[in-house]
Amino acid sequence: MTELKLPSIDYAALAPILIMLGAALVGVLVEAFVPRRLRNAVQLGLALLAVAAALVMVILNADDRLITAGQAIAVDGPTLFLQGAILILAAMALLLVGERTVERGGAFVAHAAVTADSADDRRQADGMGGTTEVYPLVTFAIGGMLIFVAANDLLTMFIALEVFSLPLYLLCALARRRRLLSQEAALKYFMLGAYASAFFLFGVALIYGFTSGIPGRGAGVDFATVHAAVSESSSSPVLLFAGMALLAIGLLFKAAAAPFHVWTPDVYQGAPTPVTGFMAACTKVAAFGALLRVFHVAFAGASWDFTPVLGAVAVLTMLVGAVLAVTQTDIKRLLAYSSIANAGYLLVGVLAPSKEGLSGTMFYLVAYGFSVLAAFAVVTLVRDADGEATHLSRWAGLGRRSPFFAAIFTFILLAFAGIPLTSGFTSKFAVFAPALDANQAWLVIAGVLTSMVLAFPYLRVVVMMWLSEPGDATPTVTVPGALTSAALVIGVLATLVLGVAPAPLLDLANGAAEFVR
């Protein structure tokens, strides 16, 4: 009998993950033991505190470059940078989740189990305090994302995927208003998510089979083994390529890349807006963090082979996002397609096999996260008696009614369109420049052309807001509470600062842009 050998675990390096998961568990207990009227404050405080503590640990760990917990977790530059990004963006999202003054009781349903459109439902919609289980759910999701970007083997990555996906499915279903739409979105997301997970898992199995062919080394799904197998394995390369393809599909699904994006518009539209913002910002970071690690660490040896295929996916993604955004009539769906197109731009960065490509992608993720959260924060504010007014026709003339918020939204749209002096410009530059250096001009050309197409729907909203007369249907902008204001200010300032003075963050990303294997 061989002795059971326990892997050594570096608890300090894992602290951010442990803190978030621990806080989520405490959150569940809070639900059970704290009186209802205190719960919201306690839960929000707990979640924010946990995020802050985890962020502190990330900063303290800033110099860690190690692999711990067997081969399961890698704590290196990209991990720490992306964990930091997830935590900061998640804090902003938590502020939106915690907002209780814009809509009485918050954006979430009070009792998720009441039948939609029943009398009970109408009563809860009219101001009963929203359910507070959302906080532990968000906290769990954050914890899962932190693992996802740190996972150093495919199985850990799969577990992390499920850990952050399941709470998101639930969160999607918890909208206070338009509950059928919300529940439908959640169900779609869940079914398609499970479907994509199956692809991912099947891919893991094929890769495992492939690694068994390395002479003198056991099979495994940790990235070091996979990396070795790519160059040394005697197994059929069909296993490798089919496995790589299936893994990519699972990850591209989360990243909302075409043709695996189909869930995105429906889910972004149906989910409660703070959750949409959370998904658009943090899920994006997590999914691309995992993509970067899988393709830069595990499959680096096959980069000549996956680049053309993923490049085609990137171009398709940009095209689908940009072209479909043109005819959208709902602001949340418009932002969903914009997020799809942005996934295409991010893929361009992922495919640039250089340090600059890596750091550019990471910079892009942060910059986009801030802007998109600010955008959804504005969406939560434009509302009438029935909740948010997301149909674009309702935004006509908003510039006359509420010039301040219309100006902010205009600024964010200009950032999305990539106008200089906004982070949209610097971040696009950060991913396109390394792609050009890597002789992938075709990706950059596609990127620039689709950016041009995308400018149209953005500017159409701007034109509607400023150049149309406000009609009777034009809603007013609700004065945001302190929490939304804070999120909005952070998002807009970051968009501006990263556009004017991107150097500090770019330097940070550059310093972090090296994986351990």
Binding site: P265, D305, F306, V326
Partner: protein, 641 residues
């Protein structure tokens, strides 16, 4: 030629020369930014700013007189630094700049004072003074800069102010058009100047006056010629010289003080300043000098001919300005000692032309803004001060002894006769003929306006003399018209000796005619021209246009120069614009709109794939997955092969 130019650093009081530019600029900013709040006192602020600048200018002038090296420069800050390109925001105060400063602020002050009353009934008086101060600031920057970029800065500034002031009454279509015309024609010249500056950068790597002048010797003849022609193009644009003269007469659409200050006394002489300042460049190439002299001679005759056929009092004066600046170009083109003569004529002209413009304004003031000299007559009885002061200006411009024009113009005619060979005859006779013609049309103007029977329109019963605030500047300028010539002619050439390149040049050739003979001849043609005009117009003239011969018709039509401009530039320009618009509408827009329609249509079609059914989503994901796996395997197959 090989002596190097060196400027001293400004110290002491001269370290504050920048105030000359700053004071009018701040005043302009206050007037323009405060808006209506400054309406009540704004004009006095404008006058005070120029007065202060004049006092400062005098102080600096006396300071400079006491200095050994009379060229002091001061670098305020680095204006442009890009790679090798370095431009200082620097000023140069030397004898040439000093006389310009005194002219601009001195005459400028009197005209500002006059304008307080002249514009009293205009709602836009504060705006007017704001622009006026802006002009003075830009003009001072133009003459005070120590490099060509500074000069260009001021050059564009005065261009802007001129544009704003010509179309000051922008409600009138003619004023708006005249402003546009001036702006466009100036752009042609400005482009030349700008390219000239680029050439300096390319060839010499600098635009500082001293470095450029020291470097000119090392350049090839062709380069100097090109550089000089480009600068000349700029000069002709700003100074209304052939072939860019057409805008200046139209610029009279602006208020009369503007015509007096900008389009007679100062801005239009900027071209002369440019050439005088760049004299090391122009002196280095004889072909270049010949071109300048030719431009001067052509323009001076052209101005005389057209001026003789015009009936609008301000336009006659405008054409006489064109013609007199022609004399100045002739002077700076002759080179050597004639540079200083041109500057003397420029200063003298500043006085008597401002005097006559203000006089014309005074006449218009009393005659319900009538400008047609056929509708004046016998005004000497009613507007004594205007009459007498205008007479001083008239005697000065025709070059009658001992008025200032005699001392400033006659030496230029003599200098023209001092050229080599047949060109001495050509340019000398042109200058002489110009003197006779000037005497003719200016006398015509004077007699028709102030003497002979009255031919007023019916609405005027009793023309009144202008108020004190307008007549006092007139009197002061008239004194300048009388006395300035002799004083300037005797002192300025020596004073200018200390300016880079203007001193220490050997005398020109012997004149082809004796000096006394030329003087006698020029006085003779003057008397002849004036006498002829007096004889013809002593009894007034018809108030309606009369049929005329070929030459007069041509002169009335500005010698068909406008027609040429229209045929050569405007028509093809309009055609080109139309063609481009057509191409843009049909070609570019068609392509863009077509693409946009394609995207929109594609979007609409693709949208239908987004059915909302999970089953179709799953199918789409599965299809995508199959494609991706197939693609990977295809790549792998290639890898195997």
């Amino acid at each position: 030629m090989e002596e190097t130019v060196e400027f001293a650093q400004a110290s002491g009081l001269l370290g504050s020369v920048w105030l000359l530019v700053a004071i009018p600029l701040v005043s302009a900013a206050i007037l323009l930014l405060l808006g209506r709040r400054a309406d009540r006192w704004g004009h006095w602020l404008g006058v005070a700013a120029i007065g202060a600048a004049f006092v400062l200018g005098l102080t600096y002038f006396f300071q400079l007189r006491g200095l050994e090296n009379k060229q002091v420069e001061q670098s305020l800050w680095q204006f442009i630094t890009v790679g090798d390109l370095k431009v200082d925001f620097g000023l140069l105060f030397d004898p040439l700049a000093a006389v310009f400063v005194l002219l601009i602020t001195g005459v400028g002050f009197l005209i500002h004072l006059y304008a307080v009353e002249y514009m009293a009934h205009d709602e836009g008086r504060r705006r007017f003074f704001g622009y006026f101060n802006l002009f003075v600031a830009a003009m001072l920057l133009l003459v005070l800069g120590n490099n060509y970029v500074m000069l260009y800065f001021g050059w564009e500034g005065v261009g802007l102010a001129s544009y704003l002031l010509i179309s000051f009454w922008y409600g009138r279509p003619s004023a708006a058009t005249a402003g546009k015309k001036a702006f466009l024609m100036n752009r042609v010249g400005d482009a030349g100047l700008a390219i000239g500056i680029f050439v300096m950068f390319a060839m010499l790597g600098t635009t500082q006056y001293d470095e450029v002048f020291n470097g000119v010797g090392a350049l090839s003849g062709t380069t100097v010629l090109v550089l000089g022609l480009l600068l000349l193009l700029g000069a002709t644009g700003k100074s209304g010289q052939f072939p860019l003269q057409a805008w200046l007469p139209d610029a009279m659409e602006g208020p009369t003080p503007v015509s007096a200050l900008i389009h007679a006394a100062t801005m239009v002489t900027a071209g002369v300043y440019l050439i005088a300042r760049s004299n090391p460049i122009f002196s280095a190439n004889h072909t270049l000098q010949l071109v300048v002299v030719s431009v001067g001679a052509i323009t001076l005759l052209m101005g005389c001919l057209i001026g003789a056929a015009k009936d609008d009092i301000k336009r006659v004066l405008a054409w006489s300005t064109v013609s007199q600046i022609g004399y100045m170009f002739l002077g700076v083109g002759l080179g050597g000692a004639a540079y200083a003569l041109a500057i003397v004529h420029l200063l003298a002209h500043g006085f008597f032309k401002a005097n006559m413009f203000l006089g014309a304004g005074s006449v218009m003031h009393g005659m319900n803004d009538q400008v047609d000299i056929r509708r004046f007559g016998n005004l000497s009885k009613y507007m004594k001060v205007t009459w007498l002061t205008f007479m001083m200006g008239w005697l000065a411009i025709v070059g009658m002894f001992p008025f200032s024009g005699f001392f400033s113009k006659e030496p230029i005619i003599v200098a023209a006769f001092e050229r080599e060979g047949w060109t001495a005859w050509l340019f000398g006779m042109a200058a002489l003929l110009g003197a006779g013609l000037t005497a003719f049309y200016m006398t015509r103007l004077f007699v028709l306006t102030f003497h002979g029977p009255k031919r007023w329109t019916e609405d005027i019963e009793h023309p009144h003399e202008s108020p004190k605030l307008m007549t006092i500047p007139l009197i002061l300028l008239a004194i300048g018209s009388v006395g300035a010539g002799f004083l300037l002619a005797t002192s300025v050439p020596d004073w200018l000796e200390a300016t880079a390149g203007l001193g220490g040049q050997e005398e020109g050739h012997e004149a082809v005619l004796a000096h006394w003979l030329i003087t006698t001849l020029s006085l003779l043609v003057t008397v002849l021209g004036a006498g002829l005009a007096w004889f013809l117009f002593r009894n007034g003239t018809a108030t309606e246009p009369q049929p005329a011969g070929v030459l007069v018709t041509a002169a009335r039509r500005n010698l068909y120069t406008d027609a040429v401009n229209e045929a050569v530039f405007e028509k093809p320009g309009i055609f080109l614009t139309r063609a481009l618009v057509f191409l843009d509408n049909r070609g570019v827009d068609g392509l863009v709109n077509g693409l946009a329609a394609a995207v929109g249509g594609g979007s609409g079609r693709l949208r239908r794939l987004q059915t909302g059914f999970v089953r179709s989503y799953a199918t789409s994901i599965l299809t995508g997955a199959l494609l991706v796996v197939a693609a990977f395997l295809a790549v792998q197959a290639g890898w195997l092969a």
